[in-house]
Symmetry: C2
Subunit: 270 residues, 2 copies
Amino acid sequence: MIDCGEGAQVHFRRSHLHFKRLNHIFISHLHGDHCFGLIGLISTLGLLGRTADLHIYAPNPLPELLKPQLAFFCDGLSYRVKIHPFSTRRSEILYEDRSLLIETVPLLHRMPCCGFIFREKATKYHLDPSAKEKYQLPLYAIHAIKAGEDYVMPSGEVIPNSALTLPMKPVRSYAYISDTAYKPDIVPRLKDIDCLYHEATFLHERLGRAVVTQHSTALQAGLIADAAGCKKLVIGHFSARYHDESVLLEESKTVFSNTELANEGMIINV
Amino acid sequence: MIDCGEGAQVHFRRSHLHFKRLNHIFISHLHGDHCFGLIGLISTLGLLGRTADLHIYAPNPLPELLKPQLAFFCDGLSYRVKIHPFSTRRSEILYEDRSLLIETVPLLHRMPCCGFIFREKATKYHLDPSAKEKYQLPLYAIHAIKAGEDYVMPSGEVIPNSALTLPMKPVRSYAYISDTAYKPDIVPRLKDIDCLYHEATFLHERLGRAVVTQHSTALQAGLIADAAGCKKLVIGHFSARYHDESVLLEESKTVFSNTELANEGMIINV
């Protein structure tokens, strides 16, 4: 879960997601609309009898703020809440396993704030069963081929790895750029991202307001996606002044055509 | 506002109520479903530029729990949040003005908990304009008549107050009995209440569970309303096990016929 505003647990349920599959929560910054739902969610997970650890990644001082609430409201909780504070000044790897890497992207907001990049890792090469037979591959060679190596036949002929393995599932990437002023220096970090979420609080005609409040305009979100060569851009965090959000979409599309408006409950295929 | 669970600010808006008219919040006890919405509501009122004081009445340790959150999330708030802790061991008057009196009712729950009684005060007697003329009432007598006194004519004849004043608007009363085990000693406090809200978490067949969790059954809620001679009973706080809440309604009605089920967004005329 990325960010956890008030009522997040209700929306989680409504989306037919399973609380048991929720193990890691990433909080971009400590404005209420990004973290006021944590205590209610933690409390509900306790009522449901959860036993698995819950990991929360957030800037300081979340541990200090949450701990007295946990001590009072969640006394005797059936599971452990592990808070991992991170620095918002430099990029960090927050999480890594066999198939996924999650890093922070320092942003520029009225308080310490980071975005997050989620990258799938390349899986091992899958051996093509027909190649195994065709080249009479010995067992000792298979491990090396799965690691990406070519195979040298007893005759000395080199069979390239691509002739021995099946095409890999492409690795996917998602970046979540939370509240931020226009910050073009993040572009190299977002290179070739499949799906970029970028905030777009205002139209560019209100650039002055965006600068003061350290938010972005829809045009700026589009410029970032275009410069980084992202495949898709989803914009959100619109000011309540825009009753018709399509004006923000149109503005972003002038520089990055594959833009979509974020919407409650929206499902995006990456 | 009585109690303030997560998302209360959203429901407040949906009910087309005005945040400006909200000045006093009464928290019955510090379980999350009764107070997790406070910080979000306080924060939103600040974003709306509120300047009037907001008074919160709650058992300890709410001030200790809320203050670090207020200091961090609501730094530079445009108005003051005044927290008034109250004892849950004895009844207290929390609020009183010209027309309203609000008192606590100590309850029996897994943590310190109170209910609240809201009573309108009798207004002054309104002089009947036709009596003023008929009896040629002198100015000096009018103040006494408005305070409820009879009028003695120069002839010595006594005109009863009821012949000089208009019938008063009846004073109304509402009691909110939050989470509690069956507690018949509250009955005298609820005497003749116009509208009683009483929790009814379980059917009486689950009395054992009600006793352990310190909640009430629908039957017990009905018994309290009946013994106190309340005019109407609204039951709520149903266990999620009851998909069809009408069974709870029927059970309460066996002892108190004028029972209604509480429902989100319900409006009750008192």
